[in-house]
């Protein structure tokens, strides 16, 4: 894990940018969603990007998707296509950056890195977009030069929309190179860069999918409509949790939570267990939006919701939902920019639904603060990836807006472990600000809906 990381000065950024050139990028797996999305992103700042895939036709498909995604003819004019068999070595030997976006399979990546290692120039950077595999394990057994130039560069999907990006250095990655990739990605690709440790699912997915999965677990008894109403925008997110899982894809959700469940054993382990009903429905081909439906689907203009018991769908209007007037009054306060007042109303709201909502938020805060020192050096890194990768109110923002004392009470009421940092802030009585990113407007996370 990197040490605590302050922003470099403008002159340091300029020095770093001048220290090497990224003029040729090779993207491996350029037909996949992350492959073509990342390749498209690179074309805005890099004169030559090579899309490689198993076949040239697949690479062409990736290029077509990239052009469609960013709607610029410069994607085509700056890009070449090729296949692994004929073009990999010739492309890699000229590349300044090799960007790996293959399927999330250790053996497949390893095999490809064997070829990349042989063909690459000694100074070429090799980055992987993996969201699930270990950077150190991927680098294990490779030569010194490869290990020094290898790192994780985890864009979120779709990269042209979501700017939060995780940067994961391996044990042997050259620190100067990490600084360079950060400066380049931030100033040339418009990324919000967050350094995380090489831990399962890194920082964003570790914390984010814990909350998403807990919502999925709640859906088993409450049903998806009520869950997305309870954990709605007023709890600090633009998109509700189950709609998010549908968008991401149930298979991706499963891959991430299974991976974290298997490789970690933290205080919230049970919330990372995939609900059985999801596994059952996936066997029947339900994967979310990409298969036409998940927790929700559309029938023309009608939005339908999954009935988990039967596996059938019902119009949302036919699903009874209890009266939750407190949500509307919070939204009304947010609409006028009165976020503190809105959060106070949330903490004071009565009823089962409000209590459940506070339990989810408490779980998020407790889990995020307990991951400091494990997935990242400081809560600020987790804050930024939750804010700019998930578009959720960062944990520190919620604590600041409700106040540490109220946060401690809420977490305690939910029966969850209270993070030490919050306990001491609540005790000291001194006003303390947890969120330390003056350029991120906290108001954007309090969606009035």
């Amino acid at each position: 894990m990197s040490s605590s990381h302050a922003s470099p000065s403008p002159s340091e950024v300029r020095r770093l940018l001048a220290s090497r050139k990224i003029e040729r990028v090779v993207v491996l797996g350029a037909n996949g969603t992350m492959g073509y999305g990342s390749a498209a992103l690179f074309t805005q700042a890099v004169p030559s990007v090579t899309f490689l895939a198993r076949t040239k036709a697949k690479a062409e498909e990736g290029l077509a998707a990239a052009i469609k995604q960013v709607r610029s003819p410069t994607v085509a004019s700056r890009s070449e296509v090729g296949d692994y068999e004929n073009d990999l070595e010739s492309a890699v030997e000229r590349a300044d950056l090799v960007f790996e976006a293959l399927t999330e399979d250790f053996a497949i990546k390893k095999q490809m890195f064997d070829r990349v290692e042989k063909a690459r120039r000694d100074d070429a950077i090799v980055a992987t977009v993996t969201s699930g595999l270990s950077i150190n394990e991927l680098a294990d057994g490779r030569g010194d030069s490869f290990r020094r130039h290898f790192l994780g560069l985890h864009f979120f999907n779709p990269p042209n929309v979501i700017v939060g990006t995780e940067l994961i250095a391996g044990r042997d990655t050259d620190p100067e190179l990490v600084d360079f990739v950060e400066a380049f990605s931030r100033t040339r690709l418009g990324r919000e860069m967050v350094r995380t440790a090489d831990t399962p699912a890194f920082a964003g997915n570790r914390v984010g999918f814990k909350v998403l999965n807990e919502a999925a677990q709640m859906a088993e008894t409450l049903g998806p409509v009520l869950v997305d109403r309870i954990v709605g925008p007023y709890t600090g997110r633009a998109l509700t949790p189950l709609a998010t899982i549908d968008l991401v894809g149930w298979d991706i959700h499963r891959a991430i939570v299974d991976n974290v469940f298997e490789k970690t054993n933290d205080e919230a382990h049970d919330t990372l267990r995939l609900p059985d009903f999801m596994a059952g429905l996936m066997d029947r081909g339900v994967l979310g939006d990409k298969t036409g439906g998940g927790f929700f689907k559309r029938d023309g203009k009608t939005r339908l919701a999954l009935d988990i018991g039967s596996g059938d769908y019902k119009a949302l209007s036919e699903v009874p939902v209890p009266d939750m007037a407190y949500v509307d009054s919070i939204a009304g306060l947010y609409a006028q920019g009165r976020y503190r007042e809105g959060m106070a109303a949330f903490l004071a709201a009565e009823g089962q639904e409000a209590r459940l909502a506070r339990k989810v938020v408490a779980g998020y805060l407790s889990y995020a603060f307990h991951r400091v020192g494990e997935v990242a050096d400081e809560i600020g890194a987790i804050d930024r990836i939750m804010g700019m990768g998930f578009n959720w109110a960062p944990p520190s923002v919620l604590v600041d807006v409700m106040g540490p004392k109220a946060a401690v009470e809420m977490i305690g009421e939910a029966g969850l472990p209270v993070p030490e940092a919050l306990v001491s802030a609540a005790k000291s009585g001194e006003p303390k600000r947890f969120f330390g990113h003056p350029h991120i407007n906290i108001g954007r996370f309090f969606v009035a809906g």
Binding site: Q44, S72, T74, V161, T187, Y334, Q336, N441, G443
Partner: protein, 411 residues
């Protein structure tokens, strides 16, 4: 006329211009609230200290069905109830007009600390409807009624006039667009900081970059933006007290050293007819710039370390280049080709990304320019800092070169 301006700028706060407040389901008042509370906190000023407020806004009546915007300032904090407030309008120069009003009240000795808020929420309506609203900054009945997107067409004609008098190549306009977008990537509050853009894209002449008004294409245009910027202006007495409290010297607090303000005739055709025999296409804009320099005791643009100018379209920045005197009239292309406009160039223009890159919430632009000038001369502009900047000049324009306001801010 005051021989020596004594209006100090204590800093301020800009909302993230990338936000869409309609999508957040937020009311206009939330935008004002965030900018003012943000500025109080950033500048470490207690709300009770503020004596008066001026709001710059173009068309909230149209975009938000809301007038009487000065009164909304009192909603931000209980301490503001009862304060004298007002609203100022001069199309895209509204923010600067509010600054002028506030600074003249300080010069008159009426108040010591003023809040100036520039604000516009524009994403409440479709692009076409918004385009028609913006048409009211021209002589609507004569120049905009029944015309789709009238302003790109008017500023396309500015390019045509340059072309007629001196020759103009589109690739120079594309380069201006590219620099603004590239600078915006360095500005964490810029609307387009994550957008896909490069020079080839700006130059492309396909459906990905369609024409919207003569030679003006999408990449030549500033943005439709929601945003607010609040800055604090202070008298010398207050600035002295403030500097002491912050452990700084008065000389470190930037001062509005000079200002310029002119209004030309409304219709573009009349402006061009008036300047027929002038070497400058928009001589009143030139006069605004030079009078601000003169009041600041600065002889010419060599005494200015950087510029935040009104690039509502690439043609308006092209015009600004020679009007600032960076090149001889008609030779703005030279500055483009020589790389003088880049952040580390001889005459940096719009290190923030300008209206094209940072965004153009109409009524907020003048205050945004002054805040960026403040950040530059106090060395707080982060990645888009012009190294060692001591004097920055702004140019804010309403209509088709109609109302122009310029400030020289320096330490």
């Amino acid at each position: 006329m005051a021989a020596h301006s004594e209006v100090y700028v204590l800093g301020g706060y800009q909302t993230d211009f990338g936000r869409n407040w309609t999508k957040e389901n937020k009311h206009f008042s939330a935008l004002m609230r965030e900018s003012v509370l943000g500025a109080l906190e950033r500048c470490d000023i207690a709300p009770e200290e503020v004596e008066s407020a001026h709001v710059g806004n173009f068309a909230a009546e149209l975009y938000c069905m809301q007038g009487h915007l000065g009164a909304f300032f009192t909603e931000v904090h209980p301490a503001f109830s009862g304060l004298p407030t007002s609203r100022h309008e001069a199309a895209c120069a509204s923010g600067s007009i509010a600054l002028l009003a506030a600074s003249s009240e300080i010069e008159a000795g009426r108040y010591d600390l003023q809040a100036v808020v520039g604000i516009e929420q524009m994403k409440t309506v479709s692009a076409a409807e918004g385009g028609a609203y913006l048409g009211t900054a021209a002589w609507y009945a004569e120049e905009a009624d029944g015309i789709e997107f009238p302003f790109p067409k008017l500023f396309g004609r500015l390019g045509d006039e340059y072309d007629r008098r001196y020759g103009l190549k589109d690739e120079h306009l594309a380069e201006i667009s590219k620099i603004n977008y590239a600078n915006a990537k360095l500005n964490p509050n810029a609307q387009t900081r994550t957008w896909y853009m490069n020079k080839e894209h700006a130059l492309c002449r396909t459906e990905d970059n369609p024409a919207v008004g003569g030679r003006i294409r999408i990449a030549d245009c500033s943005q439709v933006t929601d945003g607010a910027v609040c800055v604090f202006l202070a008298s010398r007495a207050y600035a002295e007290k403030y500097a002491r409290g912050m452990g700084r010297k008065l000389e470190e607090i930037p001062r509005i050293k000079g200002w310029g303000h002119n209004t030309a005739r409304l219709r573009f055709a009349d402006k061009v007819a008036e300047s027929r025999d002038d070497e400058y296409v928009l001589p009143h804009v030139r006069s605004t710039i030079t009078s601000a320099m003169k009041r600041a005791g600065i002889e010419d643009v060599s005494g200015i370390d950087g510029i935040e100018t009104h690039d509502c379209f690439t043609t308006s920045e092209y015009m600004a280049i020679d009007h600032f005197g960076i090149t001889a009239p008609g030779e703005s292309w030279k500055a483009v080709e020589e790389g003088w406009l880049e952040i580390d160039g001889k005459h940096p223009i719009n290190p923030s990304g300008g209206l094209i890159g940072a965004g153009h919430p109409v009524g907020a632009t003048g205050t945004r320019q002054l805040l960026d000038a403040y950040l530059q001369v106090t060395g707080q502009a982060g990645d888009y800092q012009v190294e060692g900047a001591k004097n920055f000049q702004t140019l804010n324009i309403g209509g088709s070169g109609t109302t122009s306001v310029s400030f020289v801010l320096g330490v």
